[in-house]
Amino acid sequence: MEITFKEVDYTYQPNTPFEHKALKGVSFHIPKGSFTAIIGHTGSGKSTLIQQFNGLLRPTKGTAKIGEFTLSNEKNNQIKELRKKVGMVFQYPEHQLFEETVKKDILFGPKNFGFKMDEVEKKLPKILEDVGLDESLLERSPFELSGGQMRRTAIAGVMLMEPELLVLDEPTAGLDPYGKRQVMELFSHLHQKRDQTTVLVTHDMEDAFKYADQIMVLEDGKVNLIDHPKALYTKKEHLQKLGLDLPEQFHCMDYIERQLGVTFDEPTLSAETIAGLLSNQLKGGDTQ
C-alpha cells in the first residue's frame, strides 16, 4: 500500500491547558512494496504518526492517503475496511492477548474482519511455522506461555490477515538478542515473500540499516530526513547531532578512515567486509 502524507498536523487535547502538538506539517511518501524504517527520539511523534496509518488517530489538519483511503479531519466510515488491510504490531503486543486459548486469540482478528474462517484455519499451520510456534500450544491459555511465545502468538494473529501494509512499532522491545534477531528475520522474510509494504518504528539503527530500503528520521514532530539507508553513514555527523546512536560498525569504520586515511565507498555492518576492504586498500598502497 502506498502512503502519502500532505502537511499533516496532529494535536493532542486541543484547546486545553494540556494541548500538545505531536505532528507539525508532516509530508512524505512511502512507495508500495517498500520497507521503511522510522527513527526518532521518544516523543518525536513516531507513535502518533503510525497510528494515523490505520485511522486510530485522524489528522487534525492535512490529509493522509493510505492506499485508496484518504484520511483527514472528517470522519471516515471506511475505517474498518482500512484496518482489515493494515496490520499493526504494537510495542509489547502480548498485552493484547485475552482469549481462553492461543488459537482463539490468533483467530480473533480474522473473525472480526469477516474472513472466511475455514480458509483462515487452513493457513494457520503455515503461519505458526513462520512465526516459530508449536502447534501443541494452540489449545493452551495464552497466559501460560512465555513472553516470547506470547509475542509470537500476537504476531501470528496479525500475519494471518495477510495485511497489505504491516506496521511494526518496536516489535523487538524487551526480547533477548537471539529473539530479536529471529523476529526481525521473520519480518524481513515475510516482507520479501509477500507483496506487502512494511513500516518499522525502531530505535535500533542496525536494524534500520540492515532491513529497510528507506529511512525516515522524525525530530520534534517533523520529518527531519528521508533517504536511502546508506545516508545513515554519509550523514553521520547530522544524525549524531540529533543524538541518534549509529551502529557500532560505523564508529569503527569512521575511526579507521581517520586513523589510516583510507576511505570506504559503502557502509557495511559486516566485520569481514570491513576487514576485506581494508586489506585491499592497504595492500594496494592506497594509503597516504
Binding site: Q13, N15, P17, K84, Q96, F98, V158
Partner: protein
C-alpha cells in the same frame, strides 16, 4: 481519553489558590459544602457564588476550560431543575398552560437545588484542579491523624488512596493502548447493538486486569525490597507547612462565613 470531563484533573500552576496549604483547602471545602445546604436568601447565595467565582479567577485556570469541562454536569443540573419544576406541587400557581400549572414554590426549589449543585461541583472541581492528588492524600492523612488514638489505620488508608490515585493515569493510558490494539484487530466499541458493544468490553477488560494484577505484584515487591514499612516514625518528603498566606486565607474565610451566617435567613 475522556477529554470532556475535567472533574478530578489537576492543572499545574503557581497561583495563590495552588499555593494554599492543602489541609486548609480541604477544611474550607468541607465547611463550604456543608454550608451550601443552609443557604436560603439571595444575598447568601450571592456570597457563596462570590467565593466560588473569586476562587476560580484567582486559580488562573482558563475560564473556558472550566466551563467546557463541566459540560456533562450542566446537563445534570438542567435535568434536576426540570424535574423540580414538573414534579413539585406546592405554593401558588404562577402560570397555567394546557392544564399544567407552574407553581412558585416549584420554581424556587428548582433554582435552589440547581444553584447548590452547581456550587458544589464547581468548588470541589476547583479543589482538584489546583491540588495534586498527592497533596490531597497528605492532607487527608494529616487531618485524620487524631483517629490514630482509636486505632484507626490512618497511614494505611492514606497509602491506599495515594496508590490508587497514582495509578489512575497509568491505567487510563493502558486502557487507551489496549483499546487501540484491539481496534486494530477489528474490534468495534462504538457502533452496533448494545449487546455487541458490551461484549466488546471483554477483550479490553481482561488484558487490563492481567496488567493491573501484575503491576500490583511488582509494586508490592519493589516496596518490600526497599524495606517499606508504613506508619510510625516515617518522615515526609513534602512536609506540609502552614504559611502566613494560609493564615490570611483562613481569616478571610472566617469573615466571609460570618457574613454568610448573618445573611443566611
Amino acid at each position: 481519553m475522556n477529554q470532556s470531563l475535567i472533574i478530578g484533573q489537576f492543572v499545574p500552576g503557581e497561583s495563590l489558590i495552588h499555593r494554599i496549604d492543602p489541609r486548609l483547602k480541604l477544611v474550607i471545602i468541607f465547611i463550604y459544602v456543608l454550608v451550601i445546604f443552609s443557604a436560603e436568601t439571595l444575598l447568601s447565595y450571592g456570597i457563596l457564588f462570590a467565593i466560588a467565582i473569586s476562587t476560580a479567577v484567582l486559580s488562573r485556570v482558563p475560564a473556558t476550560f472550566i466551563i467546557k469541562g463541566l459540560k456533562p454536569v450542566w446537563f445534570i443540573i438542567a435535568l434536576t431543575f426540570l424535574l423540580h419544576i414538573l414534579l413539585t406541587r406546592e405554593g401558588e400557581p404562577l402560570i397555567t398552560v394546557w392544564g399544567f400549572s407552574l407553581y412558585d414554590q416549584a420554581l424556587l426549589q428548582g433554582l435552589n437545588i440547581s444553584a447548590r449543585l452547581l456550587l458544589l461541583i464547581l468548588m470541589t472541581t476547583l479543589l482538584t484542579l489546583t491540588t495534586t492528588p498527592i497533596s490531597i492524600t497528605d492532607a487527608v492523612e494529616a487531618l485524620l491523624k487524631p483517629l490514630k488514638y482509636v486505632r484507626f489505620p490512618v497511614h494505611e488508608l492514606a497509602l491506599m488512596m495515594s496508590i490508587s490515585l497514582r495509578f489512575i493515569p497509568t491505567i487510563m493510558q493502558e486502557t487507551d493502548k489496549i483499546a487501540k490494539a484491539q481496534s486494530s484487530r477489528g474490534l468495534d466499541f462504538t457502533t452496533g447493538p448494545i449487546k455487541d458493544r458490551l461484549k466488546a468490553i471483554i477483550p479490553l477488560l481482561i488484558p487490563l486486569f492481567v496488567g493491573a494484577f501484575k503491576r500490583a505484584e511488582d509494586l508490592a515487591l519493589a516496596m518490600e525490597a526497599r524495606g517499606y514499612q508504613g506508619g510510625e516514625g516515617r518522615t515526609k518528603y513534602r512536609a506540609l507547612t502552614f504559611q502566613p498566606l494560609d493564615l490570611i486565607v483562613a481569616l478571610v474565610f472566617v469573615v466571609v462565613m460570618t457574613l454568610f451566617f448573618v445573611t443566611r435567613t
